[in-house]
């Protein structure tokens, strides 16, 4: 699958980028699904995130009961510690040409308006695919496959980067 980096506006020229006012981030539209319904959410790919995390508000919208959910502890970049409640959901990722859908254990945490974080754990148990030479027919791949890499492209779908994820064989 190929996703273009998406631009987000800055409030002032960004010094580290030579003064431009747009920062491009690896954001992909993810479909988060429970048995009740599905929600499309723009999520940021974060290779430094250990788990895939969504806001607790999404759990409420999905009808996912976090009351008896297993609890872990996370630490934000700011150093703040927070509780993570884990639940099993179904994830769907597609660039409109190829798609990948799988069951995943994700975390739900309370946080503000900076968006969900797609960590490495969320990519486990997903499907193997590559950007070159892959049949564009989509299919549901068995759970024992693993996500190998995702390619990011510019607006003309020219590949500009590749994120290699860790793999887990189940």
């Amino acid at each position: 699958m190929r996703f273009a980096y998406l631009g987000l506006p800055a409030r002032q020229p960004i010094y580290s980028l030579g003064g431009v006012s747009i920062r491009h981030r690896p954001i992909v539209p993810t479909h988060l699904m429970s048995q009740r319904q599905g929600l499309p959410i723009d999520s940021a790919i974060d290779s430094a995130a250990d788990d895939t995390i969504f806001s607790e508000a999404f759990a409420r919208r999905l009808g996912v009961d976090l009351g008896g959910a297993p609890i872990g502890q996370g630490q934000a970049a700011s150093g703040v510690h927070f509780a993570i409640r884990y639940a099993r959901v179904r994830l769907l990722l597609t660039d409109g040409y190829e798609s990948c859908e799988w069951d995943s254990l994700v975390g739900f945490a309370p946080y503000g308006s900076d968006g969900p974080s797609w960590g490495m754990q969320g990519s486990y148990n997903s499907s193997t695919f590559g950007s070159e030479g892959l049949n564009r027919k989509y299919s549901s791949l068995p759970i024992h496959h693993f996500m190998e890499f995702m390619c990011f492209t510019d607006l003309d779908r020219h590949e500009v980067g590749t994120v290699r994820t860790r793999a887990k064989i189940t």
Partner: protein, 88 residues
Amino acid sequence: MPTEEYLAYRRKYLENRAKFSMEELARHAGKWIAWSPDGSSIVASADDLDTLDDLIRSSRQDSTCCVVEAIPACDTVFGAGLAHAEEK
């Protein structure tokens, strides 16, 4: 699995989202927004997801088709949304 219609929607969304005006997007810094299904416009904007959900419903849009996105309040973000996680 996604239907061909759904995939077509995704293609259109990604195409339009990439071309969306940065000036228009900057007006929603620090907020959650909901995109129209084809990504050509913002149908709702709110400080929190629950309010956003209410606004989506009042706009008579199908919330399962409106992609939700957070627009960062800061120019530099570390740790995605967790930089401002609430301590519990």
